[in-house]
């Protein structure tokens, strides 16, 4: 998993929010010997989802109900695989098979947003006991034929499209917008609703269809999650918990320049990539520095352009880390100013980047005091509030590159000032980053609560980032205004700080 900071806007997840619901067909002739659906495909199901989109603008509200439909497939006893984006923010999940009109309520067992995969199960397993689970194959070869099976738009029954494997590459996964993994491109038509469906070769699943380009951008470009990523997910959750990907949290700079190669002390054998940036909170934060050179990972030589050869193919060196699990170690051969060292690195998850991507299945956290709404800075907040303030924008865009997370694990934004006699002069200061409240440095939303709990001072003094004028509330006025504003603006609870 390598961080991609630039959002990949043109790539769309294929779960069509608000797609026409599959209407149950009360066709008594279903599931007879004349059925056109091969029996081995009966484990491929339609997933009908009702969704509640969290409201990061009015975080006390429940959110916006909507819905959509995608595909899933049986991979074991009452275990259906699908995409995380199909079942994200779901309030109700219904499974339907091709030849059975009955909707079966289902629930999420495991969900992995960073690789866009989820496992769901039917609440009542008995309906699916007779169905045949699908089995996984491997990485298909280029230019070999595959079929995509699922429930895309254009009809209600199961659909099959056919194409070849076009490309195998390391690509961004658009569900979070910040994760990249191995990805296989196929030219079989993959359309909204195909999401979560199997892509099959010789009767075995070789991928999970999940994203593509809109037709205005590119033709016949669909992507599937390949088996190594799927298997990694399944192994990760074997212990009953998803531990996420681990990351080196290093940005590499290809060594193409002869003078650069020489200065870094590299041989002319094409081995070694330069470290351009290191995240202090990442797995090698204490070990590597910019200007160091990575020579090999787990014995695989790293080429000047950051690629390694795995099973005959050149892939990004991060692919080796990709296949590891939290707590695993790798062996790193690296050099500083020509001095070669070998270190064993324990791999861990790098969390600060998560804020830069979309997050799901989360109730928005917030705190309201006297009409001032405080929320933690993340992509969901930036999108919901359409923040244009240059200070906040800068802080968000440079959160990783300037290592701002070290000082502020959870930056807090004053997102809204609800107008009232007590706050009327403060309304222009919405969309500001909060530095300090009553002398307490704000490093998390919890700190806001702590700072405001100190009721000894006559004033609440709020210091904003890169804005000199403090926001001042007279304690007695603000305390009196607080319940009034809550009532006027229909706010049930004055804070949600997350589950403890």
């Amino acid at each position: 998993m390598r961080m991609k900071i630039r959002p990949f806007l043109l790539l769309l997840p294929l779960f069509l929010a608000g797609a026409p619901y599959l209407t149950a067909q009360q066709d008594g002739a279903a599931a007879t010997a004349e059925s056109t659906t091969p029996p081995e495909w009966e484990g491929i199901v339609n997933i009908d989802v009702s969704v509640l989109m969290p409201d990061f603008r009015e975080p006390w509200n429940a959110g916006q109900p909507s819905g959509g439909s995608g595909t899933g497939f049986l991979i074991g006893k009452n275990r259906f695989m699908t995409n995380a984006h199909v079942v994200s923010n779901a309030t109700r999940i219904l499974i339907r098979t091709s030849n059975d009109p009955e909707p079966h309520p289902a629930r999420i067992v495991h969900i992995a947003h960073d690789c866009d995969l989820a496992l769901i199960e039917a609440e009542d397993a008995s309906h699916f006991e007779k169905l045949q689970p699908l089995t996984f194959g491997g990485i298909p070869r280029l230019n070999t034929e595959v079929i995509a099976i699922g429930y895309p738009i254009g009809g209600e029954r199961v659909s099959v499209t056919r194409g070849v494997v076009s490309r195998i590459d390391f690509r961004p996964y658009s569900h979070t917008n910040v994760d990249s993994h191995l990805c296989i491109q196929v030219d079989a038509a993959i359309n909204p609703g195909n999401s979560g469906g199997p892509v099959v070769q010789d009767g075995k699943v070789v991928g999970v269809a999940f994203q593509g380009f809109s037709g205005r951008v590119a033709q016949n470009v669909g992507y599937m999650i390949p088996v190594p990523v799927v298997k990694r997910f399944l192994k990760d959750v074997e212990d009953g918990r998803y531990d996420h990907y681990v990351d080196l949290a290093v940005s590499d700079f290809p060594v193409e320049n002869p003078a650069q190669r020489k200065a870094l002390g590299l041989e002319t054998d094409g081995i070694g990539v330069m470290v351009g940036d290191v995240e202090p909170a990442g797995s090698v934060g204490d070990l590597l520095k910019p200007g160091d050179v990575i020579l090999a990972i787990d014995g695989n030589p790293v080429l000047n352009n950051g690629l390694v050869r795995i099973e005959g193919d050149l892939v990004d060196m991060n692919e080796i880390v990709e296949r590891k699990y939290a707590g695993d170690s790798i062996q790193l051969r690296w050099a500083r100013q020509g001095k070669v060292e070998t270190s064993t690195v324990k791999l861990k998850r790098f969390t600060p980047y998560v804020k830069l991507g979309a997050q799901y299945n989360q109730r928005p956290r917030y705190l309201v005091y006297s009409g001032l709404v405080f929320q933690p800075l993340d992509r969901n907040l930036m999108d919901a509030h359409q923040i244009r303030d240059s200070s906040v924008n800068y802080f968000f865009e440079r959160y990783l590159t300037d290592k701002l997370y070290v000082e502020r694990p959870e930056p807090v934004v004053l997102t809204t000032v609800l107008p009232d006699a007590a706050t009327t002069w403060l309304t222009p200061y919405a969309h500001s980053l909060v530095d300090e409240i009553n002398g307490v440095k704000i490093r998390s939303l919890e700190d806001v609560k702590t700072a405001l709990a100190d009721k000894n001072k006559a004033f609440v003094e709020i210091r904003l980032h890169e804005k000199t004028r403090p926001l001042i509330l007279k304690r007695d006025l603000a305390d009196a205004a607080h319940p009034r504003i809550m009532q006027t603006y229909n706010i049930q609870e004055d804070s949600y700080l997350g589950q403890e």
């Binding site: 940005s251 002869p258 940036d277 590159t401 007590a422 004028r469």
Partner: protein
Amino acid sequence: MISLFRSLMCLLLPVALLNAQAPASPKAPGKAKASKSARPVPAASSKGPETAQPKSLLKVNVTAQPYSLHFPWQKESPNNSRGLGVVLEGNRVLVTAQMVADATYIEMELPDTGQKIPAKVVAVDYEANLALIESALPEAMQKSFFAGLRPMGLDTGSRVGDSVSVWQAGRVGDLIETPLNVSKVLIRRYIVEGSSFLVYEATGIIRSEANSFTLPVIKGNKLVGLLLSYDSKNQVTTILPAPIIEHFLKDFADGGYEGFPGLGMEYQVTLDEQLREFLGLKPDAPGVFITGVIKNASAEKAGLKKGDILVSIDGNAIDARGDYRDPVYGALNASHLVRGRAYVGDKFELGVLRDGKPQTLSGTLARKKPEDYLVPPYAFDRGPRYVLMGGLLFQELSKPYLDAFGEQQSENASLLRLGHIAAHPDEIEASGRKKLVFLSMVLPTPSAQGYDRLGGIIVNKVNGHAIGDLNDLDAAFKDVKGAAHAIELDDFPRVLHLDAMAAERDNLRLQGGAYRIPALKRLE
């Protein structure tokens, strides 16, 4: 992390900075409209067959060619503009600075006979948007040109409610008057950053005679101001007023031109009662809250600090909005007390409340020139400084450079960082840098192989030497240690090496070859 910086730049090249900033900028190359039917009746036509001639007006035609900000060895396409200049004493002609910015050729033209002579700039102030031009010919040769012209005086007494008129010259030099009414007097930004001055706002419909809104505004044969902008949708004009013109001319008349002084501070209003109470301000007490003090500007030198309450300037009380009471205009932004009324070298006094105690700060007014800023707010008439080494292009950051990217500034991580520093220069200035040197782009050369997608990254050191400006960089490149230059950057990828011999070879190729770059650096 490698940005799309370079491709963005290529897209943005046609942006003409000056024109983009100023709505009233005369940009159309002259096709004077000759639609006779729609022509307003000349003001004096009722008096007989002789039409009135604007005896103090001249047509001024300018060809300007700005330097390319992104390829600093090149110039952009030339563009033409025209406007009307006002003849003053000594056969000098007043126009807006905008008109003569980056001029390559200026000519004056008699409205009636069409006679033309070349002209040159004698004084220009881009902040006040004013320029004086005169004939470029020897005195003897310009005599006949000016023979029929009369210098015009200034009328600095306009106020709200006055009727004034815009003068234009028709096809044969006939005077065309358009009435306007002054509806507001306020402080507003002119064209460049940090140029807030007095403005008259007037209403009325203006029809341009020659695709130009660079026109004089007159009352009773005296100059009231120059048109600054015209918003045809709302029929609102802004006028650069005579008091500012008078200041400009006085400053010029005494010899060395020094420009308009500034205090160099930012403030916030103190209307919020809760803030006032916190600051210890009584309900009706004057004063604004100082939120920023520009380094090395007049106010900082006098000792003004962030968090001070500024209550008066030279004895004029500043109210909670930041206004003082002007005897002519009424409530007016206090910046006029310094910017519009005082001169460089004048003494000033600030009444300040600090920690609740009144204090008086005093100093001498100065002007911080654009080149005195870490990131210059504007630059005209000279090429951007640069150093090119083996395909790596280094420049000093300026506001125009950033502005040329428009909206993309907020979308590109490198530009965002540069823009943030431009807006918050204090820390970098404190580190002793005079300018912000950055790697702006990389031309594809053999010695820069592998670097061609880099751009927008600040340079910290070269060959071990700290880089405070491009002169430092130029000197540092002469002190290569070993076979390669070591360039330390502020951001990913942190360090680049450039083979010294190969870079010199590429330098020669850049000067010939496809790029035909005339010089590898501009440091003047």
